[in-house]
């Protein structure tokens, strides 16, 4: 009989090994899934995980890695603070949408004026939009004890409706022949978030990297990071240490909302270009996987974001070249999180046989 025995300290080796083991397991079981769908598993796995980086067309796909990775990393960094403290903001998708709407609205208000100040103003508006949207569940939690998981998630659906209303109404392109969707911000020089479009560089990529550095410093070198970790591991000890739980909730929700709003703004002003009904593609939810895969650690999140971006790009290649349904990639991403959570047991527990224990 196999038994689990609690380790006195979480294993450091397994902390690093679990994401790698989970990725390998996902490749194996993903391969089985692809085989069941009538694909050659090895070719499919290679197409998804290696072709975007090393095939002869990799020059075309590598910039995509930055474009897809930046919002994932930016949102996941924000979420990691709350997740560490046991504050579950799972409505990042909604904050991402509202950030994009607010930022785009500011940009569109200035059209067609050209000025260096427009993009910075949009950035502020996007950040504020995400922040305010995240403050709703945050304040309700602090004032009324309302469950932040449910409220933040409900607000995703509200934000989606708001997005539809904006794309069809207030922000619709007046010269768009009645088609839904706003003017293209990427083609409006003062509002575009692109730095070098051919290289996939936009201000969101820069912001994501800055966020990684700041998060690293805050978590490992600053009292705030200590308080966050303490609250997650022992809320009682944190209260004795003088941590104000309400304030911590608001700060964590605020950080994640702001970063998600920024991610939305940079996306709408660059890669997506316009406010449209199908603007959001689920980055806010995939970022949850990224945050866990990166072990809620900034550097880990950076790597995990890259990997998850890879599966998006590889999935698109596999869809066009092999006819693999895009839903299979969604399953693959869900599977990855399952395996990660499953293997994680080895970080905190040791496997022993019952006979030996007696």
């Amino acid at each position: 009989m196999i038994m689990l025995e609690k380790r006195p300290q979480p294993s450091r080796a397994w902390t690093f090994a679990t994401p790698i083991v989970a990725v390998l397991l996902t490749m194996v079981f993903g391969g089985l899934l692809f085989a069941a769908l009538g694909q050659d598993p090895l070719v499919t796995i290679r197409t998804i995980f290696f072709d975007p980086l090393f095939s002869e067309f990799a020059w075309f796909y590598r910039p995509q890695l930055l474009i897809k990775g930046a919002p994932l990393v930016l949102i996941a960094i924000g979420l990691s603070f709350g997740f560490r403290a046991g504050i579950w903001n799972i409505g990042a998708e909604g904050q991402y949408i509202v950030g994009a709407i607010c930022g785009a609205a500011v940009g569109l208000a200035f059209y067609p004026m050209e000025s260096f100040i427009i993009l910075p103003l949009m950035v502020v508006a996007g950040a504020l939009g995400g922040l305010l949207w995240a403050m709703i569940p945050g304040l309700l939690r602090v004032k009324f004890g309302t469950n932040e998981i449910l409220v933040s998630l409900m607000l995703v659906y509200v934000a989606e409706q708001l997005l539809a209303s904006m794309a069809l109404g207030a922000l619709r392109n007046p010269e768009g022949m009645g088609f839904p969707g706003s003017r293209n911000l990427a083609q409006y020089p003062s509002a575009s978030s692109w730095i070098t479009q051919s290289a996939g560089m936009h201000w969101g990529v820069v912001t994501a990297l800055i966020a990684v550095i700041f998060a690293y410093i805050a978590l490992s070198r600053h009292i705030f990071g200590f308080n966050v970790r303490l609250s997650g591991q022992s809320p009682r000890a944190a209260r004795f240490a003088g941590v104000n739980p309400g304030k911590l909730i608001l700060i964590c929700m605020g950080i994640s909302g702001t970063l998600a709003g920024l991610a939305g703004l940079f996306e709408v002003a660059g890669p997506a270009g316009q406010v449209s009904i199908d603007f959001n593609v689920g980055y806010g939810f995939t970022a949850i996987i990224v945050a866990f895969l990166g072990r809620l650690h900034p550097v880990g999140i950076l790597l995990a974001g890259g990997l998850m971006a890879l599966t998006y790009i590889g999935g698109e290649i596999a869809q066009s070249n092999l006819g693999l349904p895009i839903a299979a990639i969604q399953i693959l991403q869900g599977m990855l999180l399952f395996f990660l959570l499953a293997v994680d047991v080895l970080t905190n527990y040791r496997i022993t046989s019952a006979r030996k224990a007696h």
Partner: protein, 304 residues
């Protein structure tokens, strides 16, 4: 806007239909949470049930077999959650989210060849005598059988938790798993059974959407219904009676906004569509939830 085009009898009748999927999913989750497990994967189990039910019903041309398939599908996928949280002691919040993400992908894949097909008809019951009562008859007694299955399930869960020994054990496990374990009850076994029941109920709720309410398969068709079911469990303070009330309240908001859309209200469709979600938030804020089960969301590991 033409308010007179809204027929109050039809409105109340469709309220009962609109409340059913949420009620089914919520009563399952209520049992799971009373056993001390927080399964946030209701949305994923619901959509899996929706697609399983639809595939089976179209394949066999029998809605009843479809519902059976949905219950089995929901229970099977909930077992992934059960295995991870109960045996591998993973974080319940994260695992529930993973279940939702996985379920959305799985259902999209399974439902690929089924978009645009109509589900086999699931005729309404016209209950003799009772169905002929004016006003009340059309509102309460002329629905499809699943509406009554939902209500019966809520009543059964209420009686099970209140009067049966097994229900007492389940509540003990949820209130204090250490004590229940010390008394010799199998915490993990009870919880696995509860999780399976929750999965089956969520599956039924999903299938009700794809087989009766819509009745078609579209990707992501649950559109947050699973999350609303979770909210209703909190609203109900983990009590079946109040759950019934919560489901009807929610059904009422949904039906009312649909009727207002149809009547051509001056408010844009998008803002009316927000109503169910905003109402859920409002209810969560206004209604002070009662005390949650003591061990809710905590992993249990029998140390020795």
């Amino acid at each position: 806007m033409d308010l007179s085009s809204i027929n109050p009898i039809l409105l109340l009748a469709s309220l009962m239909v609109a409340a059913t999927p949420i009620m089914l999913a919520a009563i399952g989750e209520l049992v799971v949470e009373r056993a001390g497990v927080l399964n946030l994967g209701v949305e994923g189990m619901m959509i899996t049930g929706a697609v399983c039910g639809f595939v089976v019903a179209v394949g066999t041309n029998s809605p009843w077999l479809g519902f059976a398939g949905a219950a089995i599908g929901g229970a099977l996928i909930s077992m992934i959650f059960g295995f991870l949280t109960q045996f591998l002691l993973s974080n319940q919040v994260a695992t529930g989210l993973a279940l939702t993400l996985f379920g959305l992908g799985l259902s999209a894949l399974m439902g690929q060849g089924y978009i645009g097909i109509k589900a086999p008809a699931f005729p309404d019951w016209h209950i003799p005598i009772l169905g002929d009562i004016p006003v009340i008859g059309p509102i309460v007694f002329q629905h499809d059988p699943m509406v009554y299955v939902g209500i019966a399930l809520v009543a059964a869960v209420w009686a099970f938790l209140r009067y049966s020994r097994a229900g007492l054990i389940l509540r003990a496990v949820g209130e204090n798993h250490e004590a229940a374990h010390a008394l010799g009850y199998h915490v993990v076994r009870v919880r696995m059974l509860a999780i399976m029941f929750g999965g089956a109920c969520a599956g039924l709720g999903g299938a009700y959407l794809s087989l009766v309410r819509v009745p078609q398969w579209t990707e992501g068709m649950t559109a947050g219904a699973g999350w609303i079911a979770l909210a209703i469990v909190v609203f109900a303070s983990w009590r079946p009676g109040r759950l019934l009330l919560g489901a009807y309240l929610f059904g009422g908001v949904t039906v009312l906004q649909l009727n207002l859309q149809a009547a051509g209200a001056a408010i844009a469709v998008e803002y009316l569509s927000m109503a169910p979600y905003l109402a859920t938030i409002a209810v969560l804020v206004i209604m002070r939830a009662g005390r949650a089960p003591g061990s809710l969301g905590q992993s249990f590991h029998a140390s020795r």
